[in-house]
Structures are given as C-alpha cells and as structure tokens.
Symmetry: C2
Subunit: 193 residues, 2 copies
C-alpha cells in the first residue's frame, strides 16, 4: 500500500526505516470507486492525499456552470485544496475519482506532527512544491500567451499518460477551450502526420 | 541590508545567531537602478534574489511582441526564474527593476550549501513555495473562469501596495487584458462609487 509513497520520498531524500514506519502510522488508506468524490465544494479539505493507484481530478464550477480543471493526479502524485487544508476554510474545489483509486490520506494535525518528527520531509515537500509551482507558472503563462493548439501540444508532450486516461471533454476543460475547438485541433494535427 | 530577509525568515522559523551569520556570508548585495535588468531572456538565471528595497517584475515576450507578466516582487519577496535557476538552462524571462532596488542574491551552489548547513530553512522555503503555489493556482483558475473586472478587483484587493507603484499598462499586461479594457473597467468602477 505504501510502495509508491515510499518510492516518491526516496527519490528525493533519505529516511531511516524507523522514520518510514512512523510515517506509515499517520496515513489513512482510502479506496474510492470511479465517480466518487474525495472533496466537494463547500466542505473543508481535511486531508492531503497521495495517489497509490488510480486518477483524481480537482476542479471548480463557475457561476455559469462551466467546469475548470486545476489538476489531474495519477499514481505518485499528491492532491488537495492546499488553501482549505492549511486554513480550515471551506473549499471551492471538487476532487473526484476518474478511476477506481487507492489513496493515502493525512490530516493537517498528522502532517504537522510528521514534519516535526521527521524534519527531513520538509525537503521532500519543498522540492515537490517547487516543481508544482514551476509547472503551474508555465501553465499560467501559457494561458496568457499561447494558442489552443500550442497549449494542447505542450500538454500531450508533458503528460502523455494522462492524455490516454482522461476523456476528451475534460482535456478541453483543462485547456480552457471548447470540445469543438479541441476536436478541430486534433483533426488538423492528424492530417499533418 | 539583511533586515527584511532576517524578518522574513523569523516570521516562519527560528534560527540561531550563528546560522543567521552563516546565511549572511552566502548572499551578494546588489543595487539595481530603475529600468536595469537582473535577467534577460536567453541568459541562465544564476541567482534567486530577495528584495530588500524596490520593486521587480518578471515577464516574457511572446512571438507577437506582447509582454506577459509573471510576477511583481516588492520588499520582502523573492524573485527568480526557478526552472532556469535549478536546471541551469536558459531562461525565457526578463527580470527588470521598476524602481531603484537593493537586492540580496544567492547562487545555486550557495543555496544548496545553505540548505545543507541550515536545514531548518527547508521549512522556510517550503512555506513560501506553498503560499506562492496557492496564489499562482488562484490566478490560473481566475484566468480560466473570471471576467476582466473580477480579475482586476481581486488584484486590487490582494495587492493594494503594488497597484500604487506599477504603471497601468503593466497592470493590464499582468491581467492579460488590453489597456483600453483596463481603462474602461476603472471608469465604470469609479462611476459606481
């Protein structure tokens, strides 16, 4: 159950077996079936979760009923509404299982305890946050400056696995374009091949 | 010279005087005059910088010659092209002084050494990255879902100081709207008062 999490941590830092064992006591395993929700808008995000198996998406719904996808999280990724998790304020995000999932969840209290007792994990989370920030900044600058086709090609190149596992209308929503535009781009690219 | 940096660190963690003194040996002080550049597109970002005094902006220029602003950084903020800094690859950003600046710069080698010798700073950077990620995710979701007026009002509310110090055409560029749209929004809001 902790195989991927242990691997993810060891990719970035060294921790002892005792630290690993302590770490394991603080996580709650959770299974979600496809289409079940981990978090719904209006609730507080009580956990950050690590995906051992499956695929999550986090998204908001605007006043007009349109969905806007913040993140897809597959095996080896973390997911949460960080702001809600840290402040205990209600969330504006939904987090939904796009496939049957096996998750490891940790509460804020346990996370604080974990970082206090195993401070080398600060480095692990610092590096993960750093990488996430770089990717989010790129996506933001892409939103401001790139065409729909450029955004699509970057997504395919950066996350080929996710593209295979997510329905087209969610790819369109992630890119902030309509399904029709996405469909047109895909046809044009197929013709160029 | 290190007043704000020391304050910023002590807001989040406790470090000893010896650690503070070591920290100070690793930073290079740098003064920039208004309109000077810290980084230009095509160069490697050799430093992350802390702003003791003044105001920086980081931005890209797209194929059509339009500027897209990633960040304004005033006193107490950090600025860099993180990806270029971490990987030593060339940057697609410019970082420009919008006012006369007093900066503290640190190279990748010194930053690595600092984190190795004063590991409690991992926590400081983890918290800063976490806050930056939350703000960047909000801005991204705003780009996907909000009107120009909503984005403007959020910016005014979140960063009133920066709004006073930055010319209107850069505010428009930050928001991804034209100067004319920004001007219209401001007139409409003024009339509503």
């Amino acid at each position: 159950m902790f195989e991927r999490l242990t691997h993810s941590i060891q990719e970035h830092i060294s921790i002892t077996e005792a630290e690993q064992d302590f770490c394991k006591t603080l996580f709650l395993p959770k299974k979600l079936r496809k289409k079940q929700y981990l978090l719904q808008e209006g609730d507080v995000c009580k956990y950050i979760v690590f995906v051992e198996k499956g695929l999550l998406r986090s998204y908001t719904i605007d006043n007009k009923g349109n969905e806007h996808i913040l993140q897809f999280a597959m095996e080896g990724w973390w997911s949460a509404d960080l702001y809600s998790f840290l402040t205990n304020e209600i969330s504006s995000y939904h987090i939904e299982a796009l496939e049957d999932c096996e998750l490891l969840m940790i509460t804020k209290t346990s996370w604080d305890l974990l970082l206090e007792r195993v401070p080398v994990l600060e480095r692990y989370f610092r590096v993960l946050l750093q990488n996430n920030l770089i990717a989010t900044q790129r996506r933001l600058m892409g939103e401001l400056s790139e065409t729909a086709e450029e955004k699509y090609l970057k997504l395919v190149s950066a996350y080929p696995d996710i593209m295979q596992r997510v329905p087209q209308h969610m790819i369109a929503s992630y890119l902030g374009i309509t399904r029709e535009t996405l469909s047109r781009i895909r046809s044009q690219l197929a013709m160029k091949k």
